[in-house]
Symmetry: C2
Subunit: 228 residues, 2 copies
Amino acid sequence: DIVHEAEDYFSFQSLAGKRVLVTAGPTKEALDPIRFFSNHSSGKMGAAIAEAAYRAGAEVILITGAKLNVDPGITTIEVVTALDMHREVLNWYPGVDAVIKAAAVADYRPARISRSKIKKTDESMTITMVRNPDILKELGEKKQHQLLIGFAAETDHLDDYAVQKLEKKHLDMLVANHAADGFGGDTNKVTFYYADGKKQTFDTMPKQQIGTRICNALASLFETSETK
Amino acid sequence: DIVHEAEDYFSFQSLAGKRVLVTAGPTKEALDPIRFFSNHSSGKMGAAIAEAAYRAGAEVILITGAKLNVDPGITTIEVVTALDMHREVLNWYPGVDAVIKAAAVADYRPARISRSKIKKTDESMTITMVRNPDILKELGEKKQHQLLIGFAAETDHLDDYAVQKLEKKHLDMLVANHAADGFGGDTNKVTFYYADGKKQTFDTMPKQQIGTRICNALASLFETSETK
């Protein structure tokens, strides 16, 4: 349709020949067969990025914790938990040229998953949560040729945190937003932070448009890294 | 369409003049602005019941923790937490003739909701959960003219638990299913338990059809209670 054609004009085949891994959505961390921990990620941002990368000519692998309707040309893998996401991402990592990690992976999971429904009592209940693997950190450490784009959704001190995360996790670029702006909706207000210290701030845009901007930025990062 | 007409034939205006409150979906219990506790309820069963009751001529109020697309003639109220659900249900209760409580309301919520995103550490984390109000129990205690239909989704000892719950919560009928059969899907395998000890077992059916059966059962319960 017309919108897609216009977007294609700006990013026309700019990612041709590239294999791009995109992650999307929340993870769900079971407490028992019925109850789980999760977060408000809808997967819409990741889906928009995957579609934009696909339109820009990339081979796209989308690993998602949300049910998403994307172009059937995109290889889509549905996962539930952070451990699933970790396994799939690490498995695909060596063979891809870039990772755009838009998923909101749970930092913690219940220490124990009950196989039967936990019966309620009149008392309060204590749940011990353990850390999930930090996938992005691991990708940064194992980085070879890959370009890495991370995300940060924070409620406070966004700017400081974004700069720190970019550096600590060896990212090429970080997309930051205030949690209240992005989760669940069709638009977001983002800032791009680059490894060279550059920073780009955008007004609120539809997630489709942000997806295209991210893919254009990725194409530029590929150009820069190839001319080094 | 044809399916709806066929279903209408069996339940034709059987709930005309009745005001029926239906609850649906999960609740979400925030830990911070991003993370929450929830469960696998999709709201599809509650939506099917609401539609069936509406087609049977009832005035229907649907209170839901899931985003559902139902007939615009149904008064739909979206809620997030168990406390929201509690407030809305109790508010509508005195003015309705029946409540069909298909929602999977969280039994627990985090004792404290953090106003900012809780930063992850390398350590494990303990979450204290407190009990949410038992809405169905409260409805049973405050029961006047209303008919009450509850649900039980269990992983173990379903039959025993269903009979106990029916009695303890002063229900007129209880719809029981194994957790693995119902959550998320478009079909379910249910058993109806009645206050008089009667029990009806069904094969796996589409949730639409179960909705119609529940509304037919409700119409019979109204007839019985009015001829007493």
